[in-house]
Structures are given as structure tokens and as C-alpha cells.
């Protein structure tokens, strides 16, 4: 019989070794795969994407900015630019880096792949919002134009990615989202969120945590240098101007809002109370939203909260004569108007 202590130590060692090798993202093997995937092609494509982004933002791409964006040394960046130049994807003029038409096509393809993939993740998988960008950063280098056309058809020819960025067409046309930063929206003027900037990640994570989503109606109530206070889809939010600046909005004509400020959500309806649905939050998408529509949860539908599970969640609601249990996180998506009811 092997000594138990020795066996335990060996097993612990093997487990540690296995973890060091295979741990997702940090293990040696995933890391090695990642570096192997960081071929010159991928680096080149990332560099082109960066140059294109700079062009769009009206900034000047430099060797340093490329090195910074790609996490490589300036020497490596310079070599990379050389090779891109020989491939006729970019040219230098008066010390400035410019994309050739071929380079622009490549940039469009990468952006199209990135945004279509994000749309796919949002609509047809269960990945959380925070995972979309990272995954798309990987897949944008591995999708061929033919695959993209198929994906586009499968997704019903979407025009925008889930952050509101327009998806370039197969012929490389790109329209801007046309929104203005939230901070420039006049106080009390109704608008609609059309774009949430997904970089830098920290800021984006904050927007996601606030539950903001494109398509939401929005109205600013206060702008000071310290904070921006606004109502979005019936809830009040307060953000730092630098964060709020990453939200782009389109002004809407002055009409009665579909979701008035401080609207309640279905989650706050107590058993025995009745409400009428105002809207389903734009943050609820894909399969989840279709399920709501299938159940007949539509603007104007009457819902009675019937009973709550003894464990506190979910709650059963009477919807169009059927008793349906929904979890709290789902009920929060549904904005309601309370109704005084005389005997259901």
C-alpha cells in the first residue's frame, strides 16, 4: 500500500500541474495557444483596425499608439508596419500613416466580423453582456466573408451591433450611428439611447451594471460638472460626466413618453395587485423577449400577481387567463402601471 501522505502530496502536485497547464486563460497551454494565434496576420489586422479607428475619431495613428493598442514593443510595431506597407495595405505620407483602399477593405471586414459576432452572441447564445467584446476580439480574425454573409442572413440582416455600432455592409459601406453624447442633450428634452461605447472596458462595465441598453428612452434632469442625473426607461441614474459621455443619444420629438419616469416594474407588484404592462425593457433580448411575447406579455396586457413562492422567488402571475411563474430578474424587465381593480 502506498503511503497515504505521499499519495496525497503526489496527487496535489499533479492537480497543481494540471491547473497550471490547463487553467482557462491563465494556464500554460491556453496561453501558448493564444500566442500561437497572435500570428503576424492577426497583429496586422489589429493594427489596421487601430489605424481605422484613429481615422474615424480624427486622431493621428503613430507607431507608439499602435504598439500601445496591440501590447507590443515599438520595434515590433515598426516591423509590423513595414510588412503591412509591403502588402500594400497602408502607405506613409508626410510621416503620417494612411490606409490604402485595400487596407480600408480589410478594416471594414474585421469590423463587420466583430460587430456581427457580437450581435450573434447577444441574440443566439447565453453569454453575458460583459463577455461579448472579448469573444468578438478573437473571432473577428477567424471568419471568412462567406461565413459572414451566412451569419448575416441567419441574424436577419441586422444593421447594428448590440452596443449600437452600425455593421458595415458586405460592400464595405458604413453609416455612423448619428447620436450625440448624453452630456450635450438639453435638460428635460426626451431622447433615446442609440449607442453605448464598449471601450474602455471599465466604463462600459459601469454602463452595463446600471442596466442601460440601447433603445431605452432617456431624459436628463440635471447636468453639473460633477454628475449627470437622468431617467432611463423609468429608472433614475446618476453618473459621472465622463461615464455619461460614453452614452450616445438621439433627441426624440416631444410626445408623452411610453414609459413615464419612476415607473414601477412587475417585480414590485405584490400578490393580489393588478397592473397593466407599459413596455418590455430593451435590455431584454433574444429568446427571453420572444418568450414574453409568446406568453402574451404586451403593452396593455393586464397582469395580476397571484402568489409568491415560499422561498421568495419566483412569483406566479395571471397573464391572459394562464398562471405563469416568473423570476424576479425577469419581472424587472417589465415596466407596469398599477391598476385599481374592482374584483378581477
Amino acid at each position: 500500500m502506498p503511503d497515504p501522505l505521499l499519495s496525497l502530496i503526489i496527487a496535489g502536485f499533479l492537480a497543481g500541474l494540471g491547473a497550471a497547464l490547463f487553467w482557462p486563460q491563465r494556464g500554460l497551454i491556453p496561453n501558448w495557444q493564444k500566442t500561437r494565434q497572435l500570428t503576424n496576420r492577426v497583429l496586422g489586422e489589429d493594427a489596421i483596425k487601430h489605424i481605422h479607428k484613429c481615422d474615424m475619431d480624427g486622431r493621428r495613428p503613430t507607431v507608439e499608439s499602435i504598439a500601445g493598442a496591440l501590447h507590443i514593443s515599438t520595434n515590433e510595431a515598426a516591423t509590423l508596419l513595414d510588412s503591412l506597407q509591403t502588402q500594400n495595405l497602408l502607405f506613409m505620407s508626410k510621416g503620417e500613416i494612411h490606409l490604402t483602399p485595400a487596407g480600408r477593405d480589410t478594416a471594414m471586414h474585421i469590423i463587420r466580423a466583430h460587430r456581427l459576432w457580437e450581435r450573434y452572441l447577444a441574440e443566439e447564445t447565453g453569454y453575458a453582456e460583459a463577455d461579448w467584446h472579448g469573444q468578438a476580439e478573437h473571432f473577428e480574425h477567424h471568419l471568412t466573408p462567406t461565413q459572414l454573409t451566412a451569419l448575416e442572413a441567419q441574424l436577419n440582416y441586422p444593421t447594428h451591433d448590440p452596443h449600437g455600432d452600425p455593421i458595415p455592409t458586405a460592400t464595405g459601406e458604413l453609416v455612423e450611428h448619428g447620436g450625440q453624447p448624453l452630456t450635450t442633450l438639453p435638460v428635460d428634452k426626451p431622447g433615446q439611447i442609440v449607442h453605448l461605447e464598449d471601450e474602455p472596458e471599465v466604463v462600459y462595465a459601469q454602463l452595463v451594471a446600471e442596466g442601460l441598453h440601447i433603445g431605452m428612452p432617456i431624459r436628463v434632469t440635471e447636468i453639473t460638472p460633477q454628475r449627470v442625473r437622468f431617467w432611463a426607461n423609468g429608472d433614475e441614474h446618476v453618473l459621472a460626466p465622463i461615464v455619461a459621455g460614453n452614452i450616445s443619444v438621439l433627441p426624440l420629438p416631444e410626445t408623452t413618453p411610453i414609459v413615464p419616469d419612476s415607473s414601477d416594474s412587475l417585480a414590485n407588484l405584490h400578490p393580489g395587485e393588478t397592473a397593466e404592462v407599459l413596455s418590455i425593457s430593451p435590455a431584454c433580448r433574444g429568446a427571453e423577449r420572444r418568450r414574453f411575447l409568446d406568453l402574451g406579455i404586451l403593452p396593455g396586457t393586464r397582469i395580476i400577481a397571484e402568489m409568491r413562492s415560499p422561498s421568495g422567488d419566483p412569483t406566479a402571475y395571471i397573464i391572459r387567463g394562464a398562471t405563469i411563474a416568473l423570476r424576479r430578474t425577469q419581472a424587472e424587465y417589465i415596466k407596469i402601471k398599477r391598476v385599481q381593480h374592482a374584483a378581477s
Binding site: 497515504p4 499519495s7 447565453g126 420572444r290 416568473l326
Partner: protein
């Protein structure tokens, strides 16, 4: 369009139509960007809303009927904070008690008919018609015996459990159980209805896997399928009960033995439930992260159960299908068991070769070679693990006066079993680890096949099969080492 335009030019000589068509396309292209980002959703929602509006206007209902009072009353009792959980526990205790105590009698009859009466008769018949020993051994001792064993152990509990369960389902109570328990399942990333497939898994994992069909969210359904194996199925209860009463019950005074061994078995079942929560939690946060997840749970109106129809359909749909699959797997398994004990290589049977090969690994994880070999040949059905272990132990120890010959499975009285197993080198650790391994190992082949049928995916079938075995090895290994360290 580009190939089309020149022809239009030729036809009308002016090219006006062509110009207009490109205009249309251009306008469409521009409008496409203006109609908004969620126009498909918007359109769909508007169609639904309009349909609802038309229906509400056109259909007159004979007064808004309030929900059936009886339903409300029942619902408020079975989901109340005070009565909800106790009622649930009570109902399921009754169901399990009826199953376990009710199955003993018919199981005894079947075992008497198939094993004690028919088996010797068949053997005699075979000898009478001059069948060679190896043929009668393969057919009767191997294939017939294994199948008869599976049928007599498996059929009665399933024939009682499934109809009872189906009655509860038919009445409408089960969705309320899912409603009551959903919060716990939600926390581990699963669906409340997993409570039902898990419960069904206590009867039979293959049936439990089929029962996951009620879960309509892809991610939660896969979780329920993969973790169903942690519900201790009825094929494994006899193993647990036998080992617990022999080894664990033996540790305490006789008047406590029954209670303590019963608690040990319940403890294993509870550990299984706990593991299925833990594994659900892990799966939903790792490999199943990308699967689509939605939740909705309909609580249908109650209705009086249709007793005869329920019994008929549950016997035909559930019991017979599962039994048939088990038989098709038990037949070849019986042949393999008999052959492995009777085909000799270099004077030693294949089974013994295998046992010797696996013994070091088995001892390391606190089991032994015999148990590992038994678990390999008994992949088709957990019911035959104990008979196979006994047969192989006799083969290895060369014990005389017990058993029915090489490759013939048998069962016997408790004290004799204990005696034989002691001779096979079993300790309390072996018993505890066998109980653990019986809970945490691969599903039987019937279940594996069912998982494949239900998921249609080799990947998920492989994961559902391998995950528990690997976990089983890890758990028994750790228990064995810690046990030995503490025991000195």
C-alpha cells in the same frame, strides 16, 4: 441587379425604368439605416399587440371568469410559507415509502420464479437435451441470469414509482413543487423543474433524463441531464442498503443497527442531491455559459387525475421503455460476465487477469480490483453490481461451498456475504468507498444511450459519462488517503 439593368435599357431604349429601380434600391438602402436598430423586434411586438387588440375587441367572453376557487385554495395551501415544504416532504416520503416497501414483495416473487425456479429448470433442460456446458453456461448462466436479475430487481419499484409520480404530475402538483423549490435551483444556475427530473432520477436515471424534456431552456436542460446521475437510482439502492447494513450497521449495537444503516443510505442520497447542486453551479458558470437560458414556469389548473389512463401510459411509456432498454443491455452484459470468468488465458480467467491488473489502482482509492471489474462489466445495469462482486470474489478467493460456479451470479444471506467479503480483504473503508463510488460513477449504459438520444450530441454524452467517474475517483482517493492517515 447589375446584369439585369442593361437588358432593361435595351428594351425601352430610354433606361428610365432602370434608373427608377436603382432609385428604389438606393432609397431602400437609406431607409434601412433610418428605421431604427430594433425594427424586427418592434415589428414583431406590434403584430402581437395588434393581434391581441383585435382578439380582445372581437371575442366576447361570458363575463371575466375568476380563477376557479378550488384551484386558488389548493394553490395557496401547497405554496404557502407554512405548509408548502412540509406537505412536499410528506408527499414524497409517502411515494418513496410505498415504492420501497411495496416493491419488496413482487421482487421476491419474481426472484423466486426467474432465479430460484426457472433457472435450475432451464439448466436441467439444457443438460437433458445434451447442450454442451459452455453453451448452456453462456446462454443460461450468463445472458438469461443477468436479464432475469435486472428484471426482478428493476421492474417492481419502477412499476410502482412511475404511476405514483405520473398521478402527481397529472393532478398538477409537480409544477408547484418546481415553483416552491425554484429559488434554490436558481442559485445554482438551474431550473426549478430540475427538482422533478431529479425526483424521477431516484426511480431511474434514464427516465429522469427523459423527464428533463419539461425544461424548455437549453442551458438548464443540459444541466439537468448531466447532473441527473447524482440522484441515487433504484438500481443502486440495494447496493447501498446491503453494504450499509453489513458494514455500518455492524459498528453499533444491534438495536441501533437498522436505524444507523438507514441513515447512512439517506446520507449518501442527500450527498447526491448536494453534489447535483454543486455540479449544476459549476457547469452553469463554465462549459455551459454560452447556452441560451430563459425561464418560465406554467402552473396549469388542477384536474382530477385519470387513474387508469395514467397507470396504463406510465407503465407503457416509462416502465416498459426503460425495462426494454435495460434488457437489451443486460443480455450482452450477462454473456460478457460469464465469458470473462470462464475463458482462460494461460490457465487464468480473463476476469482474474483484469482484477490483478486493476487491483493496485483499486487499493489505492480504497476499493479493490474486484469492485472495479464489477463496475466495468456492470455498466449495463447497476442492479448486477453486487451479484457480480460476489461471484468474482468467490473466483478470486477460491472460497468453497458458496456461489454457483464461475460466471454464475448469485446472492445470499447477509452474514455469509460479510464472511465472504472479509475473506476478499474488505474493510470498513472499502465499504464506505464502495457506497461513495456507487453514487459517484458513470451512468449505466441505458442512461448513457438515453442522454445521447435526448441531447443528440456526442460531446454532452461524453461529459455526462466521464464527469461523474472522474469525480468518483477523486472522492474515493481523497477519502482513502485521509482515512489511512487518521487511522495511522
Amino acid at each position: 441587379m447589375t446584369t439585369y439593368t442593361p437588358r432593361m435599357n435595351e428594351l425601352n431604349g430610354q433606361g428610365e425604368t432602370a434608373v427608377r429601380e436603382t432609385d428604389i434600391l438606393q432609397t431602400a438602402e437609406t431607409l434601412r439605416w433610418q428605421i431604427g436598430q430594433n425594427f424586427h423586434e418592434q415589428l414583431m411586438e406590434d403584430i402581437y399587440t395588434e393581434a391581441a387588440r383585435i382578439a380582445d375587441r372581437a371575442v366576447t367572453r361570458a363575463g371575466e371568469k375568476p380563477r376557479f376557487d378550488m384551484d386558488r385554495t389548493i394553490d395557496h395551501i401547497v405554496t404557502s410559507r407554512v405548509w408548502g415544504f412540509p406537505l412536499m416532504v410528506l408527499l414524497f416520503t409517502v411515494v418513496f415509502w410505498l415504492t420501497i416497501s411495496g416493491a419488496n414483495v413482487p421482487s421476491g416473487w419474481l426472484s423466486y420464479i426467474f432465479l430460484d425456479t426457472l433457472h435450475p429448470l432451464l439448466k436441467e433442460g439444457a443438460t437433458a437435451i445434451g447442450m454442451p456446458w459452455w453453451l448452456s453456461g453462456l446462454l443460461i448462466d450468463g445472458m438469461y441470469l443477468a436479464t432475469a436479475w435486472v428484471v426482478s430487481v428493476m421492474l417492481p419499484p419502477m412499476a410502482i414509482f412511475f404511476p405514483l409520480f405520473t398521478l402527481l404530475e397529472d393532478f398538477g402538483y409537480l409544477p408547484r413543487v418546481a415553483f416552491n423549490l425554484d429559488n434554490i435551483f436558481r442559485k445554482s444556475g438551474a431550473h426549478g423543474k430540475q427538482a422533478l427530473s431529479m425526483m424521477m432520477g431516484f426511480g431511474c436515471n434514464a427516465a429522469g433524463v427523459v423527464a428533463t424534456r419539461v425544461i424548455d431552456s437549453p442551458r438548464e436542460r443540459l444541466i439537468a441531464i448531466i447532473t441527473n446521475n447524482f440522484a441515487l437510482c433504484n438500481g443502486r439502492w440495494p447496493t447501498q442498503i446491503l453494504i450499509a447494513s453489513l458494514f455500518i450497521g455492524g459498528l453499533v449495537p444491534a438495536y441501533l443497527a437498522g436505524f444507523v444503516s438507514a441513515m447512512a443510505v439517506v446520507g449518501i442520497a442527500v450527498l447526491g442531491v448536494f453534489l447535483s447542486f454543486a455540479v449544476s453551479w459549476g457547469l452553469s458558470r463554465s462549459i455551459l455559459k454560452g447556452e441560451v437560458s430563459t425561464f418560465s414556469l406554467e402552473l396549469p389548473p388542477y384536474r382530477p387525475p385519470r387513474i387508469w389512463q395514467t397507470i396504463y401510459t406510465s407503465v407503457i411509456d416509462r416502465t416498459m421503455i426503460v425495462l426494454w432498454r435495460a434488457i437489451t443491455f443486460a443480455l450482452p452484459a450477462g454473456a460478457v460476465i460469464w465469458l470473462s470468468a470462464n475463458v482462460m488465458i494461460g490457465g487464468v480467467s480473463i476476469a482474474e487477469h483484469l482484477i490483478n491488473l486493476l487491483n493496485p489502482l483499486g487499493l489505492l482509492i480504497g476499493l479493490n480490483g474486484v469492485i472495479l471489474v464489477a463496475y466495468i462489466v456492470a455498466i449495463p445495469a447497476n442492479e448486477i453490481v453486487i451479484p457480480t462482486v460476489l461471484m468474482l470474489t468467490v473466483l478470486v478467493t477460491g472460497a468453497t461451498g458458496v456461489g454457483a460456479g464461475a460466471g454464475v451470479m448469485f446472492e445470499m444471506d447477509g452474514s455469509a456475504v460479510r464472511h465472504l467479503l472479509d475473506a476478499g480483504g474488505w474493510t470498513l473503508l472499502t465499504a464506505v468507498n464502495l457506497m461513495l463510488f456507487s453514487l459517484i460513477h458513470n451512468p449505466c449504459s441505458t442512461t448513457i444511450y438515453t442522454i445521447y438520444k435526448e441531447t443528440g450530441s456526442k460531446k454532452w454524452t461524453l461529459i455526462a459519462t466521464m464527469l461523474p467517474v472522474v469525480m468518483g475517483f477523486i472522492v474515493t482517493f481523497l477519502v482513502a488517503q485521509v482515512w489511512r492517515l487518521l487511522a495511522g
